[in-house]
Structures are given as C-alpha cells and as structure tokens.
Symmetry: C2
Subunit: 324 residues, 2 copies
C-alpha cells in the first residue's frame, strides 16, 4: 500500500517543525513534558493575552499558511503591546484539518520562526488536535514592570489622543479580497498585503511611563477608541488630521471607499494612546526614535459621544452578535 504523502504524525509535527521554535529555552523542558514553566522575575509581572483564529471567520479557507501565522502572532503581539508588555514567549494550540500537509506546516512554521526572530520570543508549549475546521489559539506572555500595565479604562478628560500608523489600510484590503471594490493591480496588491500580513505596532512598552491608556485597533478605530471612554467622557476628533495613507486618500477622493467605513473597519493593529497633553512631546520623541509614525487625532472631552468636524457621530451598534 502506498501511503498518502499527507500523513503527519504528532511526533513528526513536533520534531520536524515545532521543536525549532522553542529556541532551546530551558523553560520549554524540550517539549518532553505535559507543560512548561515561566520564570518569576523580581519587580515584573507577566502579561497574558489569548487570541484565536478560525477558518471561515478570521481567515478564508484558502488563505496562505504564512498569512495565517502572521495573523495569530500579530493579534497577540498587538494586545501585549497595548498593555505595555515586551514579548517573551507563547503557547500554540493547533486544531488541524485533514487538508493540512507537510508543505502547509512548513510554510506556517517558517513564518512563525521568522516572526519569533524579528520580535524576540519563543514557543513555550502547545497542544495539537484534529478538527474539521482549522482553528488556532495562542496565549502570549510578556514581561512588564510591576504595577505599570497600561489599561483601557484609565483615560482622563483633557488627554491627547494619538494613533500610530495609518487607519483603514487592512479594511481596504478586505474589501478588495471580497471583490466589493475594484482596484488597480498595484493598489490591490498593496492593500491585500496590509490585510493578509498585518504588523503589530510595538510602541506600547516604550510609553508606559507617559500614557494614561492604550488599546490596539482590532475591531475598528471608532469602536476601539470608544472602549477608552467611561460614560462621562467623549472625544473631539481632529477631522483633518486623521492619518490615511496617500493611496487610501486617493480612493476616498474617487469615492471608492468612505471615510466612515475606514474608521469602522478592523484589523489595523495600530495603537490608540491617550496621554496628558504635557506628555505630548515625550510621545512624539519616543515614536520618532522608534521610527513609528504617530498622529494626534483628538482629545478626551467631558461630553459623551464622538464629535467630528463639529457634528456628533452616531456609532453603529458594534456589539457583535455571535448566534442567530
């Protein structure tokens, strides 16, 4: 009997593909046990994030394995960064479907390896299972100075609001991939790349001493911004300052995309940061030193709602209904 080329045993997965990701760190116990360990460090806490991505929800069935790897890493690194953490390691829970073969696993783990080197973290432990639908869950661990975690709900009235990078890039890529808009080949490739290979903004750990609150943009700029506010606060947005890329601006001008859809589109993985206005120059300087584009886009005010060019924005209800 000729065996299918696709056969992958758990042992093969671990020894051939996953072992190289543990960077021979003592904490992994060489993947020989039922778990691993994290070292306690004096004056540090360990931030824990947990994100999963599911075929048909967070990515399409035929998306490339390196895009899927980039997404699960970026979702989690972005969460870590928003809380001020420096990446340390992660666990990976793989529920693999029968279409997964050696070539898929190689591309997937090669991208993980590349990103681990780039951001300096290792694979601590994991679990492997079989599923009809590809489902990947990861927990990330990052160290942060004790009592210095940046939180979401600690903005203050008068705070400046900063956003890193550009808004809505990934959303334009999603619209293009869904064929809801038609773009030139050059534009399509540019925005698809933003959607398929999002990068986290790792500024969070640098600004822990100067910011009041922070969140990463995963559900959309406006929705995530509103999570920084309590019910006595609102936002005055500086309409003309909103950071759209030159390419996005040209699509806005041609009425191919609407500003409001870019502000509600998700998966930017940029950071929204609030700080006392006296720290504005600190934030600018730290971003400049780290070669990260940052823009002051508004300030926190003592009126509920988001005000934009003098008008109050009515936000769509963005509490996602899971089951119908």
């Amino acid at each position: 009997m000729i065996k299918s080329k696709k056969i992958i045993s758990e042992t093969q997965l671990i020894y051939k593909y996953l072992n190289k990701l543990n960077f021979s760190k003592q904490e992994t116990l060489n993947f020989l046990n039922d778990g691993a360990f994290l070292k306690s460090k004096k004056n540090k806490d360990i931030i824990v994030t947990n994100d999963n991505i599911i075929e048909g929800v967070d990515f399409f069935k035929n998306d490339s394995p390196d895009s899927i790897a980039q997404k699960i890493i970026t979702y989690n690194l972005s969460d870590l960064s928003a809380m001020g953490g420096i990446p340390y390691c992660y666990t990976l829970c793989l529920s693999l479907s029968s279409s997964i073969d050696h070539s898929w696993i190689k591309k997937f783990t090669d991208k993980l390896f590349f990103l681990q080197k780039k951001y300096n973290f290792f694979l601590l432990a994991g679990d492997i299972g079989k599923s009809n639908q590809l489902n990947i869950s990861a927990n990330f661990y990052g160290y942060v100075k004790k009592n210095c975690i940046i939180k979401r709900n600690t903005s203050k009235i008068g705070d400046s609001i900063w956003v890193t990078g550009h808004i809505g890039q990934s959303h334009i890529g999603l619209l293009a991939s869904q064929k809801k808009i038609v773009l030139s080949k050059k534009f399509k490739n540019y925005f698809l790349n933003k959607y398929l290979f999002p990068n986290p903004c790792m500024l969070g750990s640098k600004i822990i001493n100067f910011s009041n609150s922070c969140i990463d943009i995963s559900d959309g700029f406006l929705g995530d911004l509103s999570k920084l506010l309590n019910n006595k606060m609102g936002v005055e947005l500086f309409y003309t300052k909103l950071p759209f890329s030159i390419k996005a601006k040209s699509l806005i001008n041609k009425k191919i995309v609407k500003i409001i859809s870019l502000l509600n589109g998700g998966d930017d993985y940029e950071l929204i940061i609030t700080c006392p206005s006296k720290n504005d120059m600190k934030i600018i300087n730290i971003a400049f030193k780290n070669r990260i584009k940052i823009t002051k886009v508004g300030r926190i005010i003592d009126r509920q709602g988001i005000y934009f060019n003098g008008l109050k924005l009515i936000l769509p209800n963005n509490s996602f209904q899971y089951f119908f």
Copy 2:
C-alpha cells in the same frame, strides 16, 4: 420579527456567565482589557499547561456541557499535578457552534464555577469565537517551588513505580458508551460516570520532594508509563498488584473486557510516580494523609521493555497518526 431565544452576544456571554468565574481577582483586570497578568512570586516558577478538546474527537456532539467542562478542567489540572504544580488560574478559549444556547452556557459555566471552588483557581482571561465545531482550549497556570518541577524523563534504575486510584475505569465507560460492550444498568452508570466526569489526582504537589518523575495517565497506563523511560530502562510490572476496581475485576473475570485493553485505554487521569525505593514509606504516608489510593505496581530495571509476569510485552505502536 420574533428573535430566536438562542441569541447570545459576546457581551452577554462575558457579563452573564463568565464574569462570575474571575472571582473578582485583581489579575483579571475585570475582563476589561485585551489580556490580564500573572504576579511573579519570589522563589516560585509558574507551570503552564495547554490542552484543548474538540467535538467529535474528545467528546461526542451530544455530550452534556457539564461533562465537557469537567474534561477540559481535568485534562489540565492533571497535567499541572503531574508536574508538581498547585492550581492558580486559567485562560479559556471558546470556539462555539450555533447549537450553543443559554441553557448550554449556563450548565457549562456552573460546572466550571463548581470545579474552580473545589480546586481553588479562577478564570484569568479568554477569547470567544464562532466555529462549526465546538472547540475549547485552555491554558492553566500553577505555582511550584523554584527548580522543583517534577519531570517525565528523570526516572532512575531501581525506582519504585506507583500508580494512584484504579486503572481502566474510564476506558470501560468509553466502551459502554460506544456499545462495544453490554453492561448491567448499574455497571453502565458507574463506568459512564468515570468516562464522562473524570477527576484529576492532585497528589503531585505533595510529593515533589520525594519522587524522581511523574506523568498522568491520559493516553493509557502502558503508553504513558513508557514515556518515563529512556532507552536504557525498562519496567518489571507486578502483575497481581495492578489496581483494577472490584467492578472492573468482575468484568475481566467474565471476559467482557481484557486486561491489556484496560492497560492501554486512556483518560484515567491517575498519576504514575517513580521514586527511590527508600522513599516508598513517604509516598504511602502522603497518599494516606490525602486519602488517595496508591499502589506499587513495579520497578524500573536496566533492560529495555515492559516485563509482565516474566514475559516481555509487545506494545502496540501508539504514536497517533493525525492525518490519513
């Protein structure tokens, strides 16, 4: 339009069902952020385990939610215990299918709450997604004295081999649930309960100073025992001492089940412990104090293989092939 009763939003899931599981612990940041944190403790390391359970693989589609909750908790607590850890908290990644309704979530989280109280740990953080197939992944965290983790690959020749509880109970339940064997109602209920509601053996943290290695029985007694051996070691099993329950013995005597299938059946969640024979009395006393049945079932010898009643056992190849 009358809305279906089944609608559950992410917000409802968190506020109505999951919030009660965080036991108001500071580390959870009240589930208001993208993550949470673990406190570093002087002279302690943090053990991390990661297990997932998938519909159709680890449980059947119509298994009750309290059984599924008990399984995900037991798989992980058992791993923690085998490494010597004391449970502290966990993260939960829920990929929920459309058949999940309020009643399911209530039963599932009520069982989590019960087990959290019983074993003293809280829900630290989590993620929720939508999937065709119910898939639950959890990471558990436990503290252990620095450098005192019990490992698998540190048995020594001459070590006594101990096993807690009874072997093969859950496997008989599985056979009964699959209708591969026919049992009286009383026996069926007894063994089904062992299969659907397995309990972890939490002796691990008590014996860290006296044992050389430890593993929990998830894949089957013989397979897991062999993971404690290096390629210069074997096991002499004390055939007559193997701990089968009175009910299991009666099924063996009636030839309804075979001893070898009980020794290879999984999901016992008992511990196999090896220790220098000079520590035998310590192990007996600690188990007695903790009201845990423990049996000396063999010793580690300097010949490869598992010897049983004078004969060498040929073990089936138990490296699970995921994809065919």
